[in-house]
Subunit: 350 residues, 2 copies
């Protein structure tokens, strides 16, 4: 056991406040990581506010974790003390189902164990996340992070990064393709960077014309303002793939109209109802696909971290101290961040 | 020009009544077909009632046509006088767009010309369908029909048949797969027959337990009553492919829960809103696909007719005289047909 300093929510209306709790002892397959940076994901807010139900308090959010390995169990082979390491949305899974055996732990038949607000398979206790000074995680769920990456800006790769990288890879985005990234936020700005690095022609699709210049800076070849019917018409039937990062229910029909025959739009942001509803016409005429994708498996997360090191890809971040986390959440709720807050966890020692 | 005897609707509330009009002259690439049988598709009713808008009257419905070639133009190479022939939902397209050049005329960039309530590309007049004694169609949009098939029962293959065959083939349904056909009507009963002939394990998914015995007779290996939560739970996550033939808006979420990871549900019946709406969760967790498919191209329609001749597949039909068409429509509206009405067009001469 080791005493952890953290910030936690104690109800769905309370602000985050300092909190101390015990981490589980380092088991034979575990590593203990001193957390250097912890990204703030929009789902942290959703879960702390219990927007999706099932919240357990006290809750220490955070699943975009970058840190340094400070202790390893006897059976750990993939990491050693001193390595830089990353932890994302999952810290465990059944490891034997069909999905786990295909390195798709995020689709584990028994349900993956989430980094916070989950149930620890070793202790039965509620898992606690990255707004904390350290964490203990089984080695399969820890990735190695190259020293060449800007570590604070690498934290969001563990969720925003893998969530966008995985579908772009799975659906084989590459050179010669016209790819649209819908929505320019924490996910969308990573989608643009990855789609560009994979060689596609990238169009940023946004409701906000003001974001255009920023999209170009991030690597977009073109900006399509979705509220402009003329622009939408000009791009109709022209996209090979759409990565839809919008985090709330919305009308997907106009976007389906942008796809070529047999092409796919992949949802990564919205969990709730697609309202107003999708129509049959939107998929039937052109045999179009609507699909979705959840984060990525651990092997693919490591692949992404290596891809980022190779291509010099990180998130655009604004670094804050843990003491300012409640204000950051308020600003995030208003989309007032370009594009991700990251907590410098050294501040928790102060 | 040739005078055609037919039955037509003259408004969205009027019954079908006898109607006489001129068919266009047989051009160099055209064939003239004496219609022997004309299937009654649910969309005939929708279009005559103007449920989808754009109805032009008088309207002669009918796009499941079986007949005999009685005249061919000078450039016709694929058919000869005396051949049995079929005409489906389309009678023309641009023939040069990307889709047409890939034998996918149904997705023609300029819009395929529908067999009725369309605009004839030769004459600019409204096209008139198969509730008629003959029709003139360009050879590319006419398929050959084997004499070995029961011709009256072959008529619905031209719409209900190809609409279900095409997605089963495109999404590679075959041996070793568990395939669900949702909805047991004109489309669904053909879906069961084709999925079985393609070697899949076929589960008929219906809200109506009484249809179970019939589904088994049609070839289903198993029946799943979708209103039974226990049965739905037992089949959760087990299907490789779902063919959804439900013709009206419905909740697709429970069906998405039946799919395996990365598997697809294909809509072929519903054009309108999927209400209550699909949720992001239904596609994101398991990277599942919702897609759709419209009829099939002409080359594939010919392939299907040949497949049917080889496997002895036809529709289950109830044959009526043209004079009874209004009563048949009323029964069809109440789903009181197993599974397709077909008009014996000899009755129009009487």
């Amino acid at each position: 056991m080791s005493l952890a300093k953290a910030y936690a929510a104690h109800s769905n209306t309370a602000p985050l406040v300092p909190f101390t709790f015990e981490r589980r002892p380092v088991g034979a397959g575990d590593v203990r990581i001193e957390i250097l940076y912890s990204g703030i994901c929009h789902s942290d807010l959703h879960q702390a506010r219990d927007d999706w139900g099932g919240a357990k308090y006290p809750m220490v959010p955070g699943h975009e974790i970058i840190g340094k390995v400070v202790e390893v169990g006897a059976e750990v082979t993939t990491l050693k003390v001193g390595d830089f390491a990353g932890v994302g949305c999952m810290v465990d899974s059944c490891r034997h189902c069909e999905a786990c055996s295909h390195d798709l732990e995020q689709y584990c038949a028994e349900g993956a164990t989430f980094t916070y607000n989950g149930t620890d398979r070793h202790t039965g206790e509620t898992t606690q996340g990255g707004y904390s000074d350290h964490i203990v995680v089984e080695q399969r769920f820890v990735v190695k992070v190259s020293e060449t990456l800007d570590l604070k800006a690498a934290a969001p790769l563990l969720c925003a990064g893998i969530t966008t990288y995985s579908p772009l890879k799975h659906f084989k985005v590459g050179p010669g393709q016209k790819v649209g990234v819908i929505g320019l936020g924490g996910l969308g700005h990573m989608g643009v960077k990855f789609a560009k690095a994979l060689g596609a022609q990238v169009v940023m699709i946004t409701t906000t014309p003001e974001k255009g210049a920023d999209a170009t800076r991030l690597g977009a070849d073109e900006v399509l303002v979705s509220r402009d019917p003329e622009q939408m018409k000009a791009h109709a039937g022209s996209f090979d793939f759409l990565l839809n990062t919008i985090p709330v229910g919305h009308d997907t029909n106009p976007y389906m109209g942008l796809l070529k025959r047999d092409a796919t739009m992949c949802l990564v942001g919205v969990l709730t109802e697609l309202d107003p509803p999708l129509t049959g016409v939107s998929v039937i005429f052109g045999r179009k696909h609507l699909t979705g994708s959840a984060i990525g498996g651990m092997a693919e997360t490591q692949e992404m971290m290596d891809f980022c090191a190779e291509h010099g890809i990180v998130s655009d971040v604004e670094v804050i101290n843990i003491q300012d986390v409640n204000e950051a959440w308020e600003r995030m709720a208003k989309n007032d961040v370009r594009y991700r807050f990251v907590i410098d966890m050294a501040s928790i020692k102060g």
